[in-house]
Symmetry: C2
Subunit: 412 residues, 2 copies
C-alpha cells in the first residue's frame, strides 16, 4: 500500500482517504456500474461492524464522511479531529476485506442504485444527453460508459459479480492511503502498520490497459429533444490527451487554454458571448486533465434569446478559430496563469483539498514528482504552446456537439 | 459438432462449409480484429500441410474456395465436385487444430491485414464514415467495433492473442458443418466421423452473452467531409431487433418494410426520389435481420443535383413518416412478399446459397425449424404489422444519420 502524508498543522483537523485504483473504466464488459455499486456496498455490514456504524461514528464525533467513484478510481474519505484518526483507520481497513456480501444486501442495494439512476439520470434530460455524448465521443475507450452504469446492466449485477470485484480490487496493493492535516508521517506509519499493515496483499493485478481510442475522422452531433427542457444548451467535446498520456507541456497548455477560453468572467467566451453580444446566459470550457487515459476538452453555453443554440455554437466556434489563427497574448496568458494558480491554491487550502489533489493524481498515473513540479510546468507554458494545442486538438472535423432542446411542442 | 446436410442432385457439385460461432462481437476488449486475423491465419501452414497447399488443391480441381468473418461468425467454404469432398474435409479438419502459429507467421500476416485495412477502409471515406456511424449507433454493444478491427488494436495483436483465440474457439463443439449439393447425409456422416470426428471436443464455452444496448434517447449525426468524396451520400440507421431477439413476427415485418421502402425499382423510395422527384441517383433500405443480437435497420440515398443530401434526407424521412401514419396497402405488401420471396429463392438456388442460408441462420441463434417455417411466417405478415414496426422502431429521436460530403474546397 502506497502511503502519502501531507502534514499541515494550521488547524486541528485531519483528512483520511483511501483511494482504490479501480473505476468504471476498469469494469468487465457488460458489468457497467459495478465499481460505483461497490462504493455503496462498502457502507454495509462487515464481520466486525453492523451496517451504518462507521457512518454514525463519523457523525457522532462531528466529522465528515464521503465516498466517490469516477472512471479511474474509487475513494473513501473522512475529515475528523486528529484523535479520531486511529478509529477511522480501524474502520476503513476493516471494510477493505471484511464485508459480508449476502444476496439480500446486494439485491436491496441494487434497488437503491436503480432509484439513484432514475432520479439523477433518467429524470434529467441534461444528464441523459451527457451520457450519450460521451458514448458518441469515445468510440472504443470505456470512458464511453457512464460511471453509474447502463440501466440494463445494473439490473443484472449480482453477488457473484460483487464478490469477484471485491476480491480482485479491494486489497492494500491496489490502494493508496492519503492522510493530510494535523498529523505526522511517523504517527500515520505507526497507525497504518497496525491496521492496513495486517491485511495480506492481494493477487498482483495485470497492467492497467484499457481499449484505446482509434483515430477519429468525423464530426458528430447528439440531440436530445424533451418537453422537460426549459433552458436549451449546447456543448462540444474533443478527445485530447490527459496529463499521463500527453507530450510534455501539452496537458498544461490545455489547462491554460480552457482557462483563457472559458474560466470565469475574464475569459474570452464570457466577455464575447455574455458581456459583448448578450447572446448567452452561461458559457464555459473544461479540460479533464486528471484522467488515466486520453480524455475530453469541452466548451458549452446556453443561449439568451436571439439565435438560440445555433448562435451560441457559431460564436464559440469563432472564438476557438480565432485562437487557432491568431493565438493568445502573453498578457492574457499571464493573467490566466495567475487566475488558474489562485483557483487551484484556493481549492487546496485545506486538508481535504490537499488529500484530493494527491489521491486523484496518484490514482491516475502521476507521480509525487509530477505534483511537485506542476506549478513550474504551468508557469513555463508559452502562448505558442497554447495556440499549438488548440490547433492540434480542437479540430472541427473531429468534434462531438451536444444539443439539449425543448420539444417543438413546448417551443411553439 | 453440429452437421447439416442439404442434398440437391441437380448438378454434380457440392459446397462444404465450416462455420465457427465466433465473430468480431465475441472478441476480448482491446483485441479488435482478432477474429478476422484468425481467418487469415487459417490459410497458413499446419503440422501436415505447408501454407497455401489447401488453396492450391481447390484451384487445381477447378473448385472455389473462400472464407469470411462477420460480427457473429467465421466461415470457410469450398465448392467442388463431389469426389473431392473427402479431400476438402481432410484439409478443413486438419486446420481446425493443427495450425503452426509462429511469431513469424503472425507478424507477417499482421502486416498484410494492416495493408488490407489501409486500402479498404482508411483510403475509402465511405468505409471510414460507416465505421464511425456504427461506433455511434451502438453505444454499448460490440457491433460498434469494426470487423477488421481498429488500426491501433490490430497493430498490437500478437502470437499469445492468436493462440488463446484458436484454443478457445476453434474446436468441433463450437463449429457447424454444412454440406449442400450432390451428396447424401449417410456419405457426409461417414466422412465427418473419419475427419472432424477424430478431433477432441474443446472446453465448454460460456453462454454467448455480449454487452447489450441500453435504451437510446438521442438522435445523432456523423459527418465525414473529405476531398476524395466525389458523390455525396446520406444514410440513417436505427437499432432494431434481429430474428433471434425480436417479438414474434417483428423481424419478418422489418424485412418486408425494408423491401417496401427500398427493395428495388418498385419500392417507395425509388419511385418517389428517383422516378418522380429526380432528386436522387440511388436509394435503398436494408435490415440486417440475421444477427445474433439487436441489429440495424437503415435507409440511404445519394442526391442528384438540387437540394443535395439534405433534400434526400427530407424526402426519405417523409416516406417513412407516411408509412408510420398511413401504413402500407395490402396490394403493396403482397407484391413485396412476392418480390422478396423471389429474391430469396434466387439467392438460394445453388448449393453455396443454400449452405450460406443454413450456416448463417444456425450461427446466429436460429434453429432448423425457424428456417423451415420462415416462408410461412413471411407470408403471414399483415400490413398492420409493417406499420407497427415502422412506428415502433423508426423513431426520429433515436436515429443515427451519416453524411458523406466533399470538402468545401472541392465544392466551390
Amino acid at each position: 500500500m502506497e502511503v502519502v502524508v501531507i502534514p499541515d498543522h494550521r488547524a486541528p483537523v485531519v483528512t483520511h482517504m483511501v483511494w482504490y485504483k479501480i473505476g468504471s473504466a476498469d469494469e468487465p464488459p457488460g458489468k457497467s456500474g459495478i465499481a460505483h455499486f461497490f462504493e455503496h456496498l462498502m457502507f454495509k455490514a462487515t464481520k466486525n461492524h453492523p451496517a451504518g456504524e462507521f457512518d454514525r461514528k463519523v457523525s457522532e464525533i462531528g466529522g465528515d464522511g464521503n465516498a466517490f467513484t469516477t472512471d479511474d478510481y474509487t475513494a473513501y474519505v473522512q475529515t475528523v479531529s486528529p484523535d479520531a484518526l486511529p478509529t477511522m483507520m480501524n474502520f476503513e481497513s476493516d471494510r477493505m476485506r471484511n464485508l459480508v456480501l449476502t444476496d439480500d444486501v446486494i439485491t436491496t442495494e441494487r434497488d437503491v442504485i436503480l432509484e439513484e439512476r432514475a432520479s439523477r439520470v433518467d429524470n434529467d434530460p441534461g444528464a441523459l444527453l451527457s451520457e450519450e455524448v460521451d458514448a458518441t465521443l469515445y468510440q472504443n475507450h470505456p470512458y464511453r460508459i457512464p460511471v453509474i452504469g447502463w440501466k440494463n446492466e445494473i439490473e443484472q449485477l449480482n453477488r457473484t459479480d460483487a464478490v469477484a470485484f471485491y476480491d480482485r480490487y479491494y486489497a492494500p496493493n491496489n490502494a493508496i492511503l492519503v492522510v493530510a492535516g494535523d498529523t505526522t508521517p511517523e504517527r500515520v506509519k505507526e497507525l497504518a502498520e497496525a491496521t492496513y499493515g495486517k491485511i495480506p496483499r492481494g493477487a498482483d493485478l495485470p497492467p492497467r490497459v484499457r481499449p484505446q481510442e482509434p483515430e477519429q475522422n468525423t464530426s458528430r452531433t447528439v440531440t436530445l429533444t424533451d418537453p422537460r427542457v426549459s433552458v436549451p444548451s449546447f456543448s462540444k467535446r474533443w478527445v485530447v490527451p490527459s496529463y499521463r498520456t500527453a507530450q510534455p507541456g501539452e496537458a498544461e497548455a490545455l489547462d491554460l487554454l480552457s482557462e483563457i477560453l472559458g474560466g470565469g468572467t475574464r475569459s474570452r467566451l464570457y466577455q464575447k458571448l455574455i458581456v459583448h453580444d448578450g447572446a448567452a446566459s452561461s458559457v464555459g470550457a473544461f479540460y479533464q486533465g486528471s484522467m488515466y487515459d486520453a480524455t475530453a476538452f469541452g466548451v458549452y453555453g446556453a443561449p439568451q434569446g436571439g439565435d438560440g443554440v445555433a448562435g451560441v455554437e457559431k460564436a464559440i466556434d469563432a472564438e476557438i478559430a480565432r485562437i487557432v489563427k491568431e493565438g493568445v497574448t502573453n498578457d492574457e496568458l499571464e493573467r490566466a496563469k495567475t487566475r488558474f494558480r489562485r483557483g487551484v491554491i484556493f481549492a487546496r487550502d485545506n486538508s481535504t483539498g490537499m488529500a484530493n489533489m494527491y489521491g486523484s493524481a496518484l490514482s491516475t498515473g502521476s507521480t509525487l514528482k509530477d505534483i511537485d513540479e506542476w506549478p513550474d510546468r504551468i508557469a513555463a507554458v508559452t502562448a505558442a504552446q497554447v495556440q499549438a494545442v488548440a490547433a492540434k486538438y480542437l479540430v472541427p472535423g473531429k468534434s462531438v456537439a451536444g444539443y439539449l432542446l425543448p420539444s417543438p411542442e413546448a417551443v411553439q
